[in-house]
Structures are given as C-alpha cells and as structure tokens.
Amino acid sequence: MNTVADRLRPLTGHRLFWPALVLVVMIAANTVYRPGFLAVEVKNGHLYGTPVDILRLSAPLILVALGMTLVIATGGIDLSVGSLCAISGAIACLHISGAADQNSPATVATALALAFGAALVLGAWNGVLVAVIGIQPIIATLILMVAGRGIAQLVTEGQIITINSGPYRAIGLGSFLTLPLAILIALAAALLVAAFTRRTALGLIVESVGGNAEASRLAGIRSRRVVFLVYVVSAACAALAGFMVTANVSSADGNAAGLWIELDAILAVVIGGTSLAGGRFSLSGTVLGALIIQTLTTTVYAMNISPQTSLLFKAVVVIAVCLVQAPAFRARFRRRRRGVEPGPAAPQREKEQVPA
C-alpha cells in the first residue's frame, strides 16, 4: 500500500493532479449516469456531442479566468469582468446592428475593434484606480462591476439589440477543422497569455509582486506598471468573452450578458491552484478549473436536477472539490483512516521570531 503510494507520489504531488482527477471523476460519473455522454459524431463536417458542447461553452469562462489568474496572482481581484463582457458585447452588436450590411466582414471587424478598444480603456481605468490611486482591488473593480451594467444599458438604450450577422455569430457557434471556433480562440488566448508571461519575465514579476510586494519594490521592480498591466489584460480577455457570449445568442442584453461570470472565473482560478493571496499562478490549472465548472454546469442540466436546487448542488460539489484539493484536509482524512500513524510531516513552520 505504502509502496504504491510512494511510487505514485511524483504524480499525486503534481499541482494539476487533483483538479485533473476531479474532472475525470466528473466525466466518469456522467458516463455512468448517461452512457451516451461521451459520444461524439460528425455531421456536415462538424463535431457534435456533449463533450464538444462543454468545450464550446467553457470558452468564455476560460478567457475571463485567464485574465483573472494574472490579477489574482498580483494579490488583487477583478469583479468588473462580467460587466465588461456586457459592455463589449453591447458595443459590438450596436455597431453591427446599425450597419447596412451586417454580414460584411469589415463591419464585424470594425465592431470588434471598437468594443475591444473600449474594454482596454475600462481596464486601464481599473488599473489606475488600483495601481496609481491605491484603492483596494475589490472596491476599485466593484465600481465598474456595478456601473458597468449601467453603461451597457446606456449603450443598448435599455433594449436587447438583436443582430443577424454570420461572421459575428461564428465567433460563438462557428467551427474550424471540425472543432468549435470558440474553444480554438480560447486556446489561442491561453497560449498567448502563457507566452506573454512565461516567455518574458512578466510571470516572474507578477508572482514576485503577489508574493511579497515590499521585497519586490526594494528589488527594483516597478510594481505599479505590472499591476496596471494585469487589469488591462483582464479587461481584454473579458471583451473576447463578451463577443462569444453575445455571438452565441446573436443579441446583446446589457443585463444578462456575462452575469456572474466573475464569480465562476474566480472559482476556476482557485480550483486551478492559484492562491487568492497572490503569488504563484498556474494558467493550465485555471483552464482545468474552467472546464470543471462548465462540466458541472452541463451535468446539472443533463441530470435533470431541478433549477431550484441546481445552484445548491453546484455549491456542494464545489465545496467538495476545494476540500479534496486542500493538503491539510487530505492529511487529516488520512490520519483518521490510519489511526495512530502520523500524517505527513507538516510543512516546516517558519521559526518563531524571538521577541526582543
């Protein structure tokens, strides 16, 4: 027993082991409940099936969570991403709806550029509030979370803007090489963010600022710039997600688009193993976390759990996932099961500072 555990340690010790295990267990449970769960078929050159749907629907969450990961790694949080989804979607749809030819690629491109630019400006606003003025991130971004819905309503003038644009709809529903375009976009964004942080020193600097801001300052890191930057990146990711959300339904609803996505994104980041206290971050963990959440949402629908209890069900699963991932919880569980045998050596506590 022990030797097996020892041999598996390199695997179980990997920081992505537990989120990956959770995802596998979830898929297995679904397959048992509904044997056709994993079935995928090709129709008209497109892949169809529940796994494909999960991938497609998780794309916006993956995007938002990527930006959120960087923000959280600096020790901050960005609550405004849901509103930013709504604003960017609304601006894009408004521009398209006013155009003579909604199917013209040029129109869609202009719409995307306009909306993306607006999101960058709003991200910069968040960045200035946090990095320059020094407002606590949760308050600074709460401003735009609340006000942003109002801005989206202003853009749509309180209406739901419906569009009929093939190229725009493709962002959410199209496919490329049989795969959903949305997940390819999200994947590309993930690779881009990974390159942006790990191929440059940005990732290290973000982790350093999140791990010990004062030490980083004294090491010469211009932490303000870095903090500013991550809020802009987060807004850019949210804008992309906003395009997808509105493209899925070919309409922009200032109230409903991206509603509560910030909370799912924070959850995805945490499940992926990035601490809310800042510091080390894991982009692949975040992507896994987002997939777990989307799988869970799909499961809730697939299992015909009544809408009244679905949120409760989700909450229970999320708590279980978090507990399974917590080393302290696992250690306690192991101790109890084995009786007297002491658990793994507790992480060495910093030596107590001897008071003067």
Binding site: G211, L218, A219
Partner: protein
Amino acid sequence: MTGDRPVLTMTGISKTFPGVRALHDVDFRLFPGEVHALMGENGAGKSTLIKVLTGVYGTDAGTVTLDGEQVSFTGPMQAAAAGVSTVYQEVNLCTNLSVAENIFIGREPRRLGAVRWGEMRRRARDLLARLDLDLDVSAQLGTFSLAVQQMVAIARAIDVRARVLILDEPTSSLDAGEVAQLFRIMRQLRDEGIAILFVTHFLDQVYGIADRITVLRNGALVGEYRTGELPQFSLVEKMIGQELDVLERLDEQQKRATVALDGQAPLVDAEEVGRRGAVAPFSLRIHAGEVVGLAGLLGSGRTEVARLIFGADRADHGQVRTDGARSPLRTPIHAIDQGIGFCSENRRAEGIVPELSVRENMILAMQAARGWLRPIPRRRQDELVQKYVEALSIRPANPELPVRNLSGGNQQKVLLARWLITEPRLLILDEPTRGIDVGAKAEIQKLVVQLSDGGMAVLFISAELEEVLRLSHRVAVMRDREMVAQLTNDDTLDADRVMRTIASGTPREEVTR
C-alpha cells in the same frame, strides 16, 4: 519617593522557545512610585519578560509575586484586572471610535444591557482630567495626534485601578514636545504611587525620567542599577557587552583604515539627507573600495540612514547623488540603476519572496533592472545561480527549492547573491549577520572584505561593534536618530571609544566611569 517593599517581584524567570533560550534565570523587581527602565539590545529578552509578566507566555521556571502574593496570569486581560496594565508600542486602539468608547471598550457602564453613554462620557472626562487632558471625549480618536492617542491608551490602562503600568516603547513615534507631555503624565502617575515599567531605546529619555534601570543581555540579567549611579557609558557597555570573539580574526591586527583614498571623488555623496520622524539630516560620502560601518544602538537611526541612501524611503531634506547620476536618487530603481544594492535587515518582510525558488529570488533584482521584456535567458540564470550557490556555499544546493525552505543564514546568502549578481558599486548590508549561525557569519564577513578589496564600496550596519570595527575603514556613529560622528578606524579606535561616542554623542569627550 520609592517605597521599601516591591509591588512586583519576578524571580528566576526562564523561558525557552524552540531552539532559542529567550530568558534565563532573570530576576526583576518593581517598587511603587518609581519609573523603572528596562534596557537591552534587540533579542535581549525585554519583550519576552513583559509577555511573561502579563501572561501572554507561560514560564518554564520562576515565580511572579504581586503585593507578596504569587500570581500567574493567563493573559493581559486578567493581568489588567489584577492591576498590571500594559500600553504597547503601537497604539492598539480603534481610531474610528470615540475617545470615550476607546477607554471603555469591552467594559462599558451598562444598565439592563444598554450602554449608559452619558455615564461613560462623564467618567472618561474625569479620567482624562486626572491626566490634565481636556479633550472632547465624543470626538473620533483618529482626529488626535499620536501622542494624545498614546495618552488615551494610558488613561484606558490606569482606569482599571492599575498599580503597575507597563509602557513598551511608548515614545518611538513621538516628537520632543510630545515626549515631554508624556513624561509629565508619567511623573504624575509615579507620584500617585503607581509603579511604571518603561521600555525605550532612547538613552536621553532613560536619564530624563527613570529612577532605576535593569539591563538584560542575551536573555540574562546583567544587573539592576540606580540611574544616578550608572553613567551612560557604563549603560551602553552593559547593554552591548563584550563577548569573546569566537570568530576567526580577519586581516590579523591590520587596521582597515589603511586604504588610501587619494582624494578620489566619492562614489555616493549624501548631502544633508534627512527625513522627519526618521533621522536628522546627515552627510555621508562613500568611496569605491571603502567599507563604512554604521554603529549605534537599536532604534538609533541606522536602518533609516540606509533606507534614505537607497531611496527606499523618500528624503524630505537634502539629496543623494552618485558620480554617474545627473539627478538625485529618489527610488530604489534609481539607486539600482546607479549600482547600489540594499540587503534589508528585515529578511522576511523586505527581502525574500518566500514561495519563489532560490533561483528566482536570486535573479530578481537583475531582472527588475532589465525590465520584463528582456528576460534573462534560462542558461544564463543557471550559470549565475550555480556560481553563487557555490561561492556562498548555499545549502541545500538546489536552486529550484522554494526559498522559504532554507534556513535564515542561507536565505541571507540568497539575498546577498541577488545583489552581487547585479554587480553593484555600493552594497548596503543592514544587519547581514543577525540571527544566523557562527559559520555563516564568518563567511559573510570574509565576503565583505573580499568585495571591498575588489573595489566595491560597502555600507555595513551591525549591532555588534566587534564586527563593525573588524570590517570598516570608517565608522559612522548614530545616536538618537542623529549621526553624531564619523571616526576613522585607525589604531586609536576601539570598541571602548565607539561606545563612549554612542553614550555621550561626542567622539572625544571623556566620560567619567
């Protein structure tokens, strides 16, 4: 003025923390109607003694008697109820509550569960009147100065019919006028028969108010003295002590002052640099290849000098220039660009990034200087890290380990490496050898000599005079947040003379012993 029977006696107190003997067989007594100063350097055991007294810590051995009865408090609240009240260095009151609420928080006068606000305000006014303070007790505490807040804390402490009042560094953030105000109140309370235990790092204040002094060093009692019978020089000597030097001698007998400066231009020129509330304006020139030591007691402004030169704090007076810089240095980045490195004394809070690896911690300053768009190639990182892991014999020699898993001495070496990698022209080392074992200490000292021989300037700060004298070409002496002297480390300079300078504030004046 002093009663004949002590109100409080502590006998044979010992306290051990894992790996550290914080107190060993310490006796302490406190008479009614006296101000008793508890003195000692960092780590001497002052705070531990107070925490043992007020029940924050238990003891391993020893007894505490209050009014002849043996007591053993389980916490500050219980101690306060028995008449032993403590006012801590950081005013731990709520600035967003009113003065009256702060005084009575947790023990508000009540009737049928409802707070009697009128009664509370009246009693608060009476209490403050006893301290000759006339405040609007319904105003928010935060609207008053720190000194007044400190006095409100004292009012809160003495309300519980205190017989013993413990003031743990109450003056560290007060200016001269505020200190005088505090002392007036302390004298008044003393005359009412309260025994006051006073902890401070300011020598002048001890001689200004204390009747009696107890000195601790390295967790042991050095002695109890009447203030009038203990000259300042002797006090400093007793606090610092003259420990046997277990470290190997470096540069046997050769005094370090022999470096010829040849009238070369200073590398770093600090001109009348100062910051209100931190350190009085000072001027200091540091030349290439020179080790300048900063000596002084804890809280004398040593660290503040270092932080101002590095730009970690902004100076509000004067400016620091380097020979290459067109503009004065204001922030750490400016200083780093000009080739200055700063190893903070506060390793954990201002040095390491605990969860990052040894390698990442080491390259941090260099990477910051290059900017995030120009990452250091991984192979170059590995080379640099390998070089310094070997050169400084960092253990365990695994650069991918999180730095928090290393011992204090090895963390210190990682921080040294962080700066050495940037190839600085001036390296500021603030207490680089504190809290690390003897072996690592000797290695770091050797390194300082090597670096300065190689042309690097070093500003070396240490509480240990021996160490400062062994390494420095010049010694700048700090006293009560003022740079009082800069002494050349020639044959005439010894620990005695530095201590006398610390005690008296003037380098030459002989103090009667």
